[in-house]
Symmetry: C2
Subunit: 322 residues, 2 copies
């Protein structure tokens, strides 16, 4: 059976590999820092080089390759195969023909998809979402993305926007979000939002391990440091993650009453905090969702980790290209 | 072609008719006050009598009838065909075998569905939602229900709960909702919520036509009176509807980023306010949805009116029964 190459374009790392569609196994996996500063042209050249590198990798064992799927962190025009807005990559990405350029440079038919949607699809096909008809996925990192599988199909919706769960409004009068709206989940519970909560605790002079771990330099506080402090038993840090989990739980309560998923998968770097986030998320869901048997909805962590996006975009390409 | 009988059970009115599945035309339509005080047994007997009345109606012209669909205002167990929670009907509806009892009393195969989902399905098949793949519907009355059509199919989700859009949280720290949660849309923009805003204006001694129309009796103020005052140009009443429309718009912004619908249909008694609600809803959507081409999402009023639920539940029964 033909394999498909999946690419996961992130603001920090670029990952690629050839995916066996029968097993979900990733062959010839490569990860490298994204040369984001080079702008669209440089990044697209880097993607294409990486694809060719996977293609010529001995680990592929001469398997046939049917095409390429690229997971892209932003808003896309799926019909034209162009990028519209990539908030975490420098340069002007408006109207860049990413799909067709990668196809031309690699000689392989190519499809593009939003990165969080590709993670969703990967987790559903071979990861934590296996076997359910309806699933929601939230990918929590620098931003908060997401995706939906509905009736056993990745649901893209009008403009491919379906699953943009980080921009659900949980406080209609809340703080301004990067999207231009107000009170979106992303303002409350993204990696940077968690870091800000840590910074504020320090500024207020609250005694916390967070400060020590950041060398008392407020600007060095990240979500990862808050997580580390919480693991070491710091109650302020645990409180911050609990607060973030509460906000995520409120947004997921909305997802539950809207689409009635059987499973919710949580992915992205921030979810390395594991149960420190999962527990308050589950508690909030039970408290806030009263119109369905919420106890029977499983809320689980991603199992594919850094492979999810590669697997998902490869499988998506296979679905599109046949 | 066989017709199917649709029943729309409301807290106030009970409606039934035979639906021609080729045209959506309702034959032998009957509407009568619901004998809600008689409790589950009485209401189910009334439903069955009404079905038999439609069946023997001369206007049917001897058409074959393939089955019955009943739209029920509450939470259902679709597999067992029982009611779980009907907040707006008196009596203990927990575990009542509505589906099988109607089938036995009428001699016709019967299916049940949530009432807002049946309105959604009706509008999609023959009303304001015709022709789109992905659609959301909000039914605004005493409560706020809703439904989703996704990928050209009515989406029910786990436990049949999908589309319960009135319980979307738009203020995580907001007032307690009837569902037991907090800050749900229903608290802010249902008919009773609009009435409360009118009552509060009067209590605060604000000069408004609302008070005159209610004979200065706070307890007589309803959403319909607020609407009438607004139509007569009263600025307080217009402000109240504008506020309600804003809240509805925020919740629909969440629906947009979650499922990416191409069309949104607004139904239910409160929507008789028409553009007094539609305008602020559209304004809010444009302001709050920044990650998709929201201008291309049409936001329209229901076109089937009181027939929507009858048509939807009949068509649903046909889909299930073949």
């Amino acid at each position: 059976m033909r394999q498909f190459i999946g690419v996961d374009l992130g603001g920090t790392n670029l990952r690629a590999g050839a995916v066996d569609p029968e097993t979900g196994r990733v062959n010839a996996f490569i990860t490298t820092p994204t040369r984001a500063a080079e702008g669209p042209e440089g990044v697209i050249a880097q993607i294409s080089d990486l694809v060719l590198q996977v293609l010529s990798d001995g680990r592929l064992g001469g398997a046939q390759v049917g095409g390429v799927g690229v997971g892209v962190p932003g808003v896309l025009d799926l019909e034209r195969g162009t990028t519209l807005l990539l908030p975490n990559l420098p340069g002007n990405w408006k109207g860049v023909p990413l799909r067709d350029t990668v196809a031309r440079l690699t000689g392989l038919p190519t499809k593009i998809i939003n990165d969080a949607r590709s993670i969703t699809y990967g987790e559903w096909r071979f990861g934590a979402g296996c076997g359910v008809e309806d699933m929601a996925c939230l990918a929590i990192g620098t931003g908060i993305g997401g995706g939906l599988v509905i009736g056993g199909r990745l649901h893209l919706g009008f403009g491919g926007i379906a699953g943009e769960l980080g921009h659900q409004i949980i406080d209609h009068d809340g703080p301004i979000c990067g999207c231009g709206g107000r009170g979106c989940l992303e303002v409350f519970a993204s990696g940077p939002a968690i870091a800000v909560m840590g910074q504020e605790a320090l500024k207020e002079g609250i005694g916390t391990r967070i400060g020590q771990l950041a060398g008392n330099d407020v600007s060095r506080i990240t979500a990862a440091i808050v997580h580390r402090a919480a693991l070491e038993g710091d109650s302020v840090a645990k409180g911050i993650l609990s607060r973030a989990g509460y906000y995520i739980g409120v947004a997921l309560a909305n997802v539950c009453v809207s689409i009635g998923p059987k499973r919710i998968v949580l992915a992205g770097g921030v979810m390395q905090a594991g149960n420190l986030l999962l527990d308050p998320i589950r508690r909030t869901l039970i408290k806030r969702v009263r119109v369905m048997p919420i106890n029977e909805v499983s809320v689980v962590a991603s199992t594919l980790g850094e492979y999810a996006g590669v697997i998902g975009s490869a499988m998506w390409a296979m679905d599109c290209l046949g």
